[in-house]
């Protein structure tokens, strides 16, 4: 090893604490890059393979009932490459040991006469065997539901389909790409134990749903050209199928499972770019400070070596190799860390999404790229310090460095204020202002670290707010009985008489198409009674929105899509019945968080479609003893008209579990990330200052200052920088939170950005705690400082 190499090794050992801190920051940045990107790659690869394997559809059409003969006509529509008609029906699952009725979805698989081409939206068998085409009493159960409910091949399953109870034999379990993320209708999160998909033969489905020779769900593939722009094809499909009552036409991009998967990938992509950027920038800045200091400290040595005839190039290489080393070690550690992070995240997604397989692969290219990025940032971080060294002529370099600009700092121009500060604060302020570049780095690091904390707490609180909002303010009914068809007022009386029911309110939902000029939207208008207390439309900020006596109360998001405003009129074309268009006014707008809701007065809506007292759901408030609850559940299980029963408490528990499990782990990790920024940057700055001012601090000790007093001098400067950084980090964190939430916002819902005073307090408190822990470490160094030697030393 050359003699300069030996010097380098010893310099590195001497600065090991500080270098380790920088390496840790680099490693986390690269770890985040590799981890999030690899997870994203894993998910995308698994998704693509799964979609291809199941021949996932490009569009879904839900309709009332269409004869199979119409399928040929639909297949001829320009842009449609292939399609399949099937039967989909809501079912109630009656499990022997479960008191509640569980809802699910019955889906038909192709009959034996449809063989040949690969099936669109095919299933992947996970256990057991496929359905036997010669039998019509067999069912395949979605895997997660079977697992949660302990169902297996050989068991008998009781399903209530269109009011009739039927017994089917389970022959296996299956999954399908259209349900990679299976969220029950109306829910916010998957409920694997409380919602299942049941695949049956076509013959059985036709019989059970009175749909002989008919379909109510069409899934199809588009030609490559149409896939790029599905909208015109969707419109043509809509027109051709309109006579059969189209509830919804959904292109792949808006399909629930795919939409959620895409949002998750978007979130990962954001993390894979912002996190590394933040961490590597901080690492580069800290390294910059470190190298500038090293350069200044070694100026005389460098000058001497130059005088001895060492060329600039050799010295530049010498100092740059510090950066190269930091980049290499940080990059390699980060690669390892990232691989572990990817394994952990991928395992997490295995639980969240139902893929046939989701392996964690090793991406050599990604690791090499990350290593290169780490090297770039680290070398960039060293360049300024290096240039400072090699720029000087040997004569200049051997001169003692000039003291930092001794002019007055800005604050000294305000003498009244300045004199009030007192000597020690004046000194601290002077130091902060005179090392301007370094102070800015410190402030930046504190701001970034704080913003990580703020956005983490904010993310958790925003989701908590959303869940709380939905459950405490909007969905206040304990049970919702959804019926398959419209019923009359008798059903309301029947519901009132159920055991333990205190209050029952009818809801009348009219499925239809809202049309304004060339904009249209398929959805549901929800009719509420004026005195309704169990369904409360609210603005995003919680204000209750009154349902007007006439006209529609419409989500502002939907109004924007339709290009209408308050006072305008839209056409409402009901999907069922005569489908006669009605021109209705928009009399209210709603800033709701979720969905594209449209509300109207119960009686008005009834009259509009020529009904009186028709209802499609009943909301219940109860006060039940356990015995009453059991009797209640037993009765609703037997209701032939029931499509599903929403149990608020159960949904709430499920959602909390989902978010707590998901976000708990994530937020601890993020807090750790924030901590590394603080320790990597702030502690480093403090230690650099300590070394640089060794002699100055030793002098104070000689003058009789106690170690604690010397530490307090440094604390004042640290507080000036960090409090400024924390103050800047608060809005920065808020802004990051809004950005992250925007990632998960789409046409259907938005995540409001919310931070409670508790969240702010935790962020500030943790940031301050990190600062104080750094100070504690600095204080210990001061306590142990050999100040006599420091004064004797001649550098």
């Amino acid at each position: 090893m050359s003699v300069l190499g030996r010097k380098l090794r010893r310099d590195l050992v001497a600065a090991r604490g500080m270098l380790t801190a920088v390496v840790a920051v680099v490693a986390l940045g690269i770890g985040a890059l590799v981890g999030f990107q690899a997870t994203s790659n894993n998910l995308m690869a698994a998704r693509d393979a799964y979609y291809a394997r199941c021949r996932l559809a490009d569009f879904w059409i839900d309709l009332h009932k269409a004869p199979r003969t119409v399928l040929a006509e639909v297949a001829d529509i320009a842009g449609v490459a292939a399609l399949r008609g099937r039967i989909a029906a809501p079912v109630i699952v009656d499990l022997a040991h479960v008191p509640e009725p569980i809802s699910g979805l019955l889906l038909s698989l192709p009959g034996s006469d449809e063989g040949g081409a690969a099936v669109i939206n095919d299933i992947v068998l996970r256990s057991g065997r496929p359905l036997d085409p010669r039998r019509d009493d067999e069912v395949l159960v979605s895997e997660a539901f079977a697992r949660h409910r302990g169902l297996a091949a050989g068991d008998t399953l009781a399903l209530t389909i269109t009011g009739e109870r039927r017994h089917l034999r389970i022959v296996g379990t299956a999954i399908s790409a259209e349900f990679a993320d299976l969220i029950p209708p109306g829910a916010l999160a998957p409920e694997p134990a409380d919602y299942g998909v049941f695949y049956v033969g076509r013959q059985f489905a036709e019989n059970a749903t009175n749909m002989a020779g008919a379909v109510n769900s069409i899934v199809g593939l588009l030609t490559p050209a149409a896939r790029a722009d599905p909208e015109p094809v969707m419109e043509r499909l809509d027109r051709v199928l309109a006579p059969y009552g189209v509830f919804a036409t959904t292109p792949l991009a808006l399909q629930s499972s795919n939409l959620n998967l895409t949002a998750e990938l978007g979130g990962l992509a954001t993390m894979a770019t912002t996190m590394p950027l933040i961490f590597l920038t901080v690492a580069a800045l800290v390294l910059n400070v470190l190298m500038t200091r090293l350069a200044a400290q070694q100026a005389v040595i460098v000058g001497t070596l130059k005088a001895l005839g060492w060329a600039d190039g050799a010295l530049r290489t010498h100092f740059v190799s510090v950066g190269v080393l930091v980049g290499l070690v940080g990059g390699l550690l980060g690669g390892l860390l990232g691989w572990g992070l990817a394994a952990w995240l991928t395992e997490f997604y295995r639980g969240l999404f139902a893929f046939p397989s989701l392996p964690n692969r090793f991406y050599l290219g990604l690791i090499l790229l990350s290593l290169a990025i780490a090297l770039c940032f680290a070398v960039l971080g060293t360049l300024r310090g290096v240039r400072q060294v090699t720029r000087l002529s040997p004569a200049e370099a051997m001169h003692p460095p000039p003291p930092p600009a001794g002019g007055k700092i800005v604050l000294e121009r305000f003498p009244v204020l300045w004199r009030h500060l007192g000597f020690f604060w004046q000194m601290a302020l002077r130091n902060v202002f005179r090392n301007r570049g370094r102070s800015l780095v410190g402030i930046f690091a504190a701001a970034v670290g704080t913003s990580l904390l703020v956005s983490t707490f904010g993310l958790v609180e925003s989701l908590a707010y959303m869940v709380g909002f939905q459950f405490d303010q909007v969905m206040v009914a304990e049970y919702t009985l959804n019926f398959r068809t419209e019923l009359d007022g008798g059903a309301l009386d029947e519901a009132r008489r159920l055991p333990g029911v205190q209050r029952a309110e009818p809801v009348f939902a009219v499925a239809g198409t809202l049309v304004n000029a060339n904009h249209s939207h398929k959805g549901v208008v929800v009719g509420l009674r004026a005195d309704a207390t169990l369904t409360v439309p609210r603005d995003g900020d919680g204000t209750r929105a009154a349902v007007p006596a006439q006209g529609l109360l419409m989500a502002r998001r939907l109004a924007a899509q339709l290009g209408v405003g308050l006072g305008d009129r839209v056409w409402l074309i009901p999907t069922k019945g005569t489908r006669e268009p009605r021109l209705v006014p928009i009399t209210g707008l709603l800033d709701s968080l979720f969905g594209l809701a449209v509300y109207a007065d119960y009686a008005w809506l009834n009259a509009l479609v020529g009904e009186t007292d028709a209802l499609s759901a009943v909301k219940l408030r109860t006060a039940q003893t356990p015995a009453e609850r059991a009797a209640f559940l037993a009765e609703i299980k037997r209701m032939p008209t029931l499509e599903s029963c929403d149990d608020l408490a159960r949904e709430r528990a499920n959602l909390w579990q989902n978010f707590v499990v998901k976000l708990g782990g994530m937020s601890y990790t993020m807090i750790l990330f924030g901590a590394v920024i603080f320790f990597g940057a702030i502690l480093n700055a403090a230690l650099i200052g300590l070394i640089e001012r060794h002699r100055e601090l030793a002098t104070y000790r000689v003058l009789g200052y106690r170690p604690r007093e010397v530490g307090t001098m440094l604390l004042r400067e640290s507080l000036l920088l960090n409090l400024t950084g924390i103050a800047l980090g608060l809005p920065l964190g808020w802004w990051m939170l809004v950005g992250m939430n925007a990632q998960y916002t789409n046409d259907l819902y938005m995540i409001p950005s919310v931070i409670t005073p508790t969240g702010w307090a935790w962020s500030i408190g943790l940031a301050l705690a990190f600062v104080l822990i750094c100070q504690y470490i600095v204080q210990r160094q001061i306590d142990r400082m050999d100040w006599r030697e420091a004064l004797a030393m001649k550098e």
Partner: protein
């Protein structure tokens, strides 16, 4: 008159420092010759411009105007790269504060010179020359000032330079240690024939030299010592 070529010959050296708006003329027309194999002492008061002059004739710095002839070439016309080459090949330096690399041992500090030289001594041999063979693995902080300066001298000699420049080599040392260092320089001059230039503000040191150059406000005054003193004979 001897017919030997001078090792270094300077003609009309001017040096003016520019610090912002302020111009500080330091050297105003210096002519001098350094003869090979001799000990030359440059004397001057503090602030007279001795270090500036030494840096210029040593190839560390460039004059504002003037010529520095060394080996048939004018250093004043050299760019940074050629100056570096010149220092690497031809020149050794000893500084007032030794300027050793604190993280390298005595031997390794000497190696910082031998590693880049064309025909260097064995670094151990250079240390033996300054009587520090037993301290080769000590770090500067473990050596006394005089010992550190001897390491610096070994570092300067080890490349077998044309000229060794010493800027106040005893400035940071007590009188006794200083005399040892000067004695060492004289001995090396006698044993190896190395050309040595010593810059100092201490007039008595001039007694050791073959040639003396007094740097004063009106220029430089050259003289030769008919009879040279030994290091033990002087005090300051």
């Amino acid at each position: 008159m001897s017919t030997t070529e001078p090792a270094i010959r300077c003609v009309g050296i001017h040096k003016t420092y520019h610090t912002g708006e302020v111009e500080t003329p330091v050297l105003r027309g210096i002519d001098l010759e350094i003869m090979p194999g001799e000990v030359t002492v440059i004397l001057g008061a503090s602030g007279a411009g001795k270090t500036t002059l030494l840096n210029i004739i040593g190839g560390i710095d460039r004059p504002t105007t003037g010529e520095i002839w060394c080996g048939g070439e004018n250093l004043a016309g050299f760019d940074d790269r050629r100056l570096t080459e010149h220092r690497r090949r031809n020149v050794g330096f000893v500084f007032q504060f030794y300027n050793l690399v604190p993280t390298l041992t005595a031997l390794e500090n000497v190696q910082t010179a031998t590693e880049i030289a064309d025909r260097p001594m064995d670094p151990a041999e250079a240390l033996a020359l300054v009587d520090l063979s037993d301290r080769r693995d000590h770090f500067p902080a473990q050596l006394s000032g005089g010992q550190q300066q001897r390491v610096a001298i070994a570092r300067a000699l080890a490349k077998r330079p044309l000229v060794v420049f010493c800027d106040e080599p005893t400035g940071a040392l007590d009188a006794t240690t200083g005399r040892h260092v000067l004695d060492l320089l004289l001995r090396i001059n006698e044993q190896t024939g190395a050309t040595i230039v010593i810059v100092t503000h201490a007039a008595p040191v001039a007694g050791l030299a073959h040639a003396v150059l007094r740097l004063e406000l009106d220029g430089i005054h050259a003289s030769r010592n008919a009879k040279r003193l030994g290091a033990e004979d002087i005090s300051w």
